[in-house]
């Protein structure tokens, strides 16, 4: 199915959405860049996977779901948490292992959750959260709700049997699931070609399993928005599972804050090519070319607010206290 044929967004009518897309993308970037700055100080002491370069898709999704929809994600979950409305302060505090973190310091960067916003967690085990997302969709069906469940996964995660099994069940039961595959070409330092046949596309598997599918440039956030907007409407009206594959690229190392193009698993050229497709820059250029100066000026104002917000979140997190050591031994069971 070609999504773009089906709807055409009149962007002129939707400035709010434009600004919000920008806000979400820019805020994710700002948070991640602040982590880059802070991580070397060794106060954030947990494995941390940044989403710089991959902000477009979550920002697009943010426009078409509400807190009554669910989302679930992976080790690389910062962007998804924030896009889904997750509390910024609590996320940063969690990275610092503080008591006021979203998981009270017990989970760290790889275990973010904000139940109130329908962001139902992330997992440090590849593929582990996929069936959870299907289970969330099942709960919607059982409760007779019309919301949807969004499942973020990487190109590596689709190699897990849990992906295949989960998708089969979602299709079997026509559950309101949206599989969002961010294909960034790598799993850690392993390129696609040592893991998957080179002439195959991931979404074709999902299609054969029975999902409706689409493929989209994740760096083009307007395209991404239009695609996801249409698809979410379809799911809400009972289409059953959709699987959308987004082209994207992680700029920095798999885990940590550095660049690592020098170590040899990918080329500097490849990185530069993708960097030129920066979802934020592309979006801003588009606005500059198509909108009035007021619109563009507004972006700067948004930036200011974001920077302030982010600074404050880090300040608060640093100042916050660690959980009492005795808390290591509590909450093993729910009473």
């Amino acid at each position: 199915m070609d999504i773009k044929d089906k709807t055409k967004l009149d962007l002129a009518l939707d400035k709010e959405i434009l600004f919000n897309i920008y806000y979400v993308m820019r805020r994710i970037r700002a948070v991640e860049e602040k982590i880059v700055e802070e991580y070397p100080k060794k106060q954030i002491r947990c494995p941390t996977h940044l989403s710089i370069g991959q902000e477009g898709v979550p920002a697009a999704l943010a426009q078409v779901v509400t807190k009554h929809d669910y989302a679930i994600s992976t080790h690389r979950g910062h962007a998804h948490y924030l896009a889904k409305g997750g509390d910024l302060d609590k996320m940063i505090a969690e990275l610092y292992g503080k008591e006021c973190g979203c998981s009270k310091g017990k989970g760290g960067s790889m275990h973010l959750i904000d139940v109130e916003q329908g962001f139902m967690g992330t997992s440090a085990i590849v593929g582990n959260s996929i069936p959870l997302g299907v289970g969330l969709a099942l709960s919607l069906e059982l409760k007779g709700l019309k919301n949807i469940s969004c499942i973020f996964l990487g190109d590596g995660a689709i190699e897990e049997g849990s992906f295949y099994e989960s998708l089969n069940f979602a299709v079997l039961r026509k559950l309101p699931t949206l599989f969002i595959c961010e294909n960034n070409l790598y799993s850690v330092y392993s390129p696609l070609d040592v893991r998957q046949p080179i002439d195959r596309q991931i979404h074709t598997i999902a299609e054969a399993v029975g999902a409706k599918t689409a493929c989209c440039d994740g760096n083009n956030v307007i395209d991404s928005y239009e695609t996801l907007n249409t698809i979410c409407q379809e799911i809400r009206s009972g289409s059953g599972p959709w699987f959308v594959e987004f082209e994207t690229y992680r700029w920095r190392e798999h885990c940590g804050y550095n660049y690592d193009n020098d170590i040899g698993y990918r080329t500097e050229e490849e990185y530069e090519t993708w960097k030129r497709r920066d979802p934020i820059k592309t979006f801003v250029d588009y606005l500059k070319n198509n909108y009035s100066i007021e619109v563009v000026n507004k972006l700067e104002q948004i930036d200011q607010n974001i920077f302030k917000e982010v600074e404050e979140a880090f300040e608060k997190a640093k100042k916050a206290s660690y959980p009492d050591p005795s808390h290591a031994y509590t909450s093993i069971y729910c009473q």
Binding site: Y70, I72, G101, C102, S103, K104, G105, K106, G107, H111, I113, V115, M120, G121, S123, A124, I125, N128, I130, P131, L132, G133, V134, G135, L136, L138, S139, E141, L142, G161, S162, E165, S166, N168, F169, L172, S331, I332, Y333, C334, Q335
Partner: protein, 351 residues
């Protein structure tokens, strides 16, 4: 109170839980087929509908995760696997997921899933249809583990498991499904973590679980007749475990024999013995003893399983040895039933 089978008690527990609470669902391979998982799920689909009671693809791993995901938002799934062995495919979801989520998400979610695993035995079940891995589950923080041995306990503990806010692994021994006992008709609960004193005695403590409790009861009667007074404790729950009851008994008897349906090394019985000795060393008047399955995959052949499983006679023999009594021959007095590889006439194989 009605006299019903263990299998029927399970069925009744799920039935009443589903009637009480719309968020209880029930699924598993064969949950809606004509056999209804050894009768334990029969009638439920008709009563509660296709949405709440369903069969599933042979996808143990993801389907466990589906239940866990639904649990996060208040659904209370009862998932069943016809053999524990099949569930090895789903341990990532249970151990990296369900067991840890309440903790690792700082208490913001909890996972009220109940996973029924059936323990196979007899009629050549062989190496991969017979494993009793309760020790594995007990090793994992965040899980509760239940192993009832009577129809009444099965019902009371299953309802408690379903409404427990934590993941519970409910281990159901295939040889118990047709045992019969008085079971309350209404909804009733037995607290997970409480053992049951089956017989009060003074000479020796026997700690037992699941099907071995049946054998222990036969041994106890025989021993009683022969003047040995056994304090018989049925664990019922493996985690949390009722160490208090064990310690109290040991204080009285000074001798302990622990029975275990699982492999010997790193077992629940080893753990009980080690705990008792670390904490109650002074109570012991005799080295502790253990009867568990050998560290051997279970063979299939009828010719190989005859003495493979420990029975009442083995238990009695061990106790008599510990008591220093050598005038009795329990192997003669308590002969194994023939054939040895079925729990009764009702069990016609192949499951």
């Amino acid at each position: 109170m009605t006299k019903i089978t263990f299998g029927k008690a399970i069925n009744s527990a799920i039935d009443q839980a589903m009637a009480l609470d719309k968020s209880v669902i029930c699924y598993g391979l064969g949950a809606t087929d004509p056999k209804g998982i050894f009768g334990t799920t029969l009638g439920l689909e008709k009563k509660y509908g296709k949405k709440r009671v369903f069969d599933m693809p042979t996808s143990e791993n993801a389907m466990t995760g589906v239940g866990i995901g639904a649990s996060m938002v208040g659904i209370k799934p009862v998932m069943t696997h016809q053999r524990l062995d099949f569930f090895l495919l789903a341990l990532d979801q249970l151990v990296n997921g369900a067991a840890k989520m309440h903790y690792m998400f700082g208490g913001t979610v909890n996972i009220p899933i109940t996973i029924r695993l059936i323990l196979g035995r007899g009629w050549g079940q062989g190496p991969t249809h017979s494993q009793n891995l309760q020790a594995w589950f007990a090793h994992i923080p965040g899980l509760k583990v239940v192993m009832p041995s009577s129809p009444e306990d099965a019902k009371g503990l299953l309802i408690s498991s379903i409404f427990d806010p934590n993941p519970v692994v409910f281990l159901e021994h295939r040889w118990l499904h047709n045992t019969v006992g008085e079971v309350p008709d209404n909804d009733f609960r037995i607290e997970i973590g409480t053992s049951k004193k089956l017989v009060d005695g003074n000479d020796i403590t026997i700690v037992s679980m699941s099907y071995l409790t049946i054998e222990a009861q036969i041994a106890e009667k025989y021993l009683r007749k022969n003047g040995v007074s056994v304090d018989l404790i049925d664990l019922r729950s493996i985690k949390p475990i009722d160490m208090k009851a064990i310690s109290e008994s040991l204080k009285k008897t000074g001798k302990i024999l622990v029975l275990d349906t699982g492999f010997t090394t790193c077992s629940v019985s080893s753990d009980i013995i080690s705990r008792v000795l670390i904490n109650n060393f002074e109570f012991l008047t005799h080295p502790p003893a253990q009867i568990a399955m050998p560290d051997v995959p279970e063979p299939t052949s009828f010719g190989l399983t005859k003495s493979f499983y420990k029975r009442a006679a083995d238990i009695a023999k061990k106790v008599l040895d510990m008591m220093g009594i050598d005038s009795l021959d329990p192997f003669n007095d308590l002969p194994p039933p023939a054939p040895h590889d079925v729990p009764g006439d009702w069990f016609k194989g192949p499951f």
